[in-house]
């Protein structure tokens, strides 16, 4: 283990957010924050970029729609056209109204599942994985910042002193 990480433990999301703003202004880099629920407003403070998951959902949805249209064209128009209830079956364009529900459902199916799977993979949360949150209480009522001294120009002691100015419960190193 090369360098120890510093964990500043707080008991309130508001206090952590305000402290994070203060520490970042002083030049400290906060590598990560662990919390029992999303802390709104923390992302820009610790320099997180917006996630692009929504874009992937759109792409998966479009793939689903394209697959559904291709499949329906093949099943109903190309491979075995049947005259069912007098509904037109000469081309995909004339018959599309009665295909819309399935195209829509399949698009939603692909978008939702594709995005969910991408979320799991990207987040590395999959069945059987071990949790890496530093303290068990971060899923209950503790809010923790992870700081590495090597990420900023300040020394470990200076960082600790700055953190100690805020209402931190405890600073732990491991």
């Amino acid at each position: 283990m090369s360098e120890k990480a510093m964990y500043a433990i707080y008991d309130d999301d508001y206090v952590l957010l305000e402290s994070a703003k203060h520490l970042v202004a002083k030049g400290i880099h906060i590598r990560d924050v662990f919390s029992p629920f999303p802390i709104h407003g923390i992302d820009p403070v610790i320099g997180l970029e917006k996630t692009r998951l929504a874009i992937t959902a759109f792409i998966y949805g479009m793939i689903g729609v394209a697959l559904a249209i291709t499949g329906l064209w093949y099943f109903m128009i190309q491979d075995w056209p049947l005259n069912i209830g007098g509904k037109p079956n000469f081309s995909i364009t004339t018959n599309i109204p009665s295909f819309v529900p399935v195209i829509f459902e399949f698009g939603v199916l692909c978008a939702a599942h594709g995005m969910a799977i991408t979320f799991m993979l990207r987040n590395w949360t999959l069945p059987g994985f071990k949790a890496k949150n530093p303290y068990p209480r971060t899923t209950d009522d503790r809010f923790v910042m992870e700081i590495h001294a090597s990420d900023s120009d300040l020394s470990a002691e200076e960082i600790k002193a700055l953190i100690n100015e805020t209402c931190v419960l405890e600073i732990d190193e491991k």
Partner: protein, 475 residues
């Protein structure tokens, strides 16, 4: 600090609510042994479920001739129950998706149990089309699979096939939506678990969730986009179910009003079922300070709205049926013929349950009374079953030719399968209440400071005094 309007009533009651209290209280049933009430209910539910499974097995072994169907009545209780369960399965996703898009914070206390209800209800709904096929081992024929019949494909022009896609998409997307929301809460249980088996079980279920900032950012994005996808999905599912009827030529079914009317009816019945289950669960689990009377009232208001839409739809159907002057229309489920015919008892049950009873919710006293709500919700549940029964059976019973006019008489298998699915549903639901985090812990905690009673009307100065950021500020 992010506050909401002072005029809104607090959503979390009590001056002593902290983050850890919410965790403690919600996870109480998981971390402690089952209560006596739970055991009693579970026993009843299990017996009913086993009875249902027995009936279904008997049905499959003998054939659907064991149902009371006849040449005129091709559909009766099977599809009635199917539509009833799908309808109930509409509240969960409506609460978690549509109300999320509308930023309704009160959804957070009820979305988890409502979604669980949705999934189990849709699961029950799915069994009816499967078993009504008679030969269930051929159920996979509904999918467009390459086959040896000259590669004859399924008919994508048919609403029955749209239904296959709609219901399966709805079930699987709701399941994913629900499960993703559950992951952080499973992690909370995992990190508190003391017994090894419990620890292992919830470690597996929580997928190694860590709760770091990026994970939460992605989590919120996924929830939002899934809500966006699930919203049109909710509306499409019951629209498509209604097209099973609306695209046919049976008088009473062939009606363009059906899709919006069915969707409203589904939400109406779904919320009634949420009320029925929630009123018991909040009391039994002592969560009255999170699922407050205000929540019950909000749900009652949704019931008033959707019940109103359903009422207008009934009136329209009745009027238009009469106004067309078509003789066949004068015997459909909403007509003078139905009101005075052999199914008059079913017609008037429907009117009483869905048209008259919900009107009492217009009174604030009634909709904030738990007992009244419970009784009205139960009546609506029954009424919505009658609605589907009326649409299917009354319309089929008075077809074009008087020589084919028949009545439908259910057999003990009809009854057994229906009661049985309620039993199976209850088993699932009771297991959910015991072993799953009943409320969305991570969501309820986010609104504690904006909507909690203790914080809500606190001034900024008081709030800052309570939560000092710098040690030098502590006096």
């Amino acid at each position: 600090m992010h506050k909401e309007a002072a005029i809104r009533e607090p959503l979390i009651l009590g001056d002593d609510v902290t983050y850890s209290k919410i965790t403690e209280d919600v996870l109480y049933s998981i971390e402690h042994g089952p209560t006596k009430l739970w055991k009693v209910l579970m026993t009843i539910a299990t017996i009913t479920a086993l009875w249902g499974v027995g009936c279904i097995l008997y049905l499959l072994g003998t054939g659907i001739g064991t149902w009371g169907l006849n040449n005129t009545m091709g559909w009766a209780w099977d599809i009635t129950n199917f539509v009833w369960w799908v309808g109930i399965g509409h509240a969960g996703t409506l609460i978690s998706a549509v109300l999320l898009l509308f930023r309704q914070k009160w959804r957070m206390a009820i979305n988890r149990p409502a979604e669980a209800m949705t999934i189990f209800a849709v699961f029950m709904a799915g069994t009816f089309p499967m078993i009504h096929m008679g030969r269930i081992w051929m159920a996979y024929w509904v999918f467009p699979l390459p086959n040896q019949f000259g590669s004859l494909w399924v008919n994508f022009n048919s609403p029955l096939l749209w239904d296959v896609f709609a219901i399966s998409t709805y079930l699987s997307v709701s399941l994913v939506f629900w499960y993703i929301g559950l992951i952080p809460d499973f992690a909370s249980i995992r990190d508190r678990a003391s017994r090894p088996v419990q620890k292992l079980m919830y470690s597996l279920l929580s997928f190694g969730w860590t709760g770091n900032a990026k994970a939460w950012q992605r989590f919120e994005e996924v929830s939002l986009v899934l809500a966006g996808l699930a919203t049109p999905l909710v509306f499409s599912v019951h629209s498509i179910v209604s097209m099973d009827f609306a695209t046919s030529l049976v008088p009473g079914w062939h009606s363009t009003i059906f899709p919006p009317y069915f969707v409203a009816g589904a939400v109406f019945s779904g919320f009634a079922m949420v009320q029925t289950l929630m009123l018991i669960a909040r009391k039994a689990m002592r969560l009255e300070y999170i699922i407050t009377v205000k929540h019950i009232e909000y749900m009652n208001i949704v019931i008033i709205l959707t019940g109103g839409i359903v009422g207008v739809a009934y009136t329209t159907e009745f009027f238009i049926g009469w106004y067309t002057g078509v003789q066949y229309e004068s015997y459909v489920y909403m007509s003078a013929g139905a009101a005075t015919g052999k199914y008059a008892w079913a017609f008037w049950s429907l009117i009483f349950c869905n048209f008259v009873t919900p009107a009492f919710l217009w009174f604030k006293k009634v909709r904030t009374s738990l007992t009244a709500t419970f009784i009205i919700a139960l009546i609506i549940n029954i009424g919505m079953w009658f609605e589907r029964f009326d649409i299917i059976v009354t319309c089929l019973a008075r077809d074009y030719l008087p020589s084919t006019w028949r009545m439908f008489f259910p057999t003990w298998v009809d009854l057994g399968v229906y009661i049985g699915t309620i039993g199976i549903f209850s088993v699932f639901y009771l297991l959910f209440l015991k072993y799953f985090p009943v409320l969305a812990l991570n969501e309820v905690k986010t609104i504690l400071k904006s909507s909690g009673e203790r914080y809500k009307n606190m001034s900024d100065e008081d709030f800052k005094k309570l939560h000092p950021v710098f040690k030098k500020d502590i006096k």
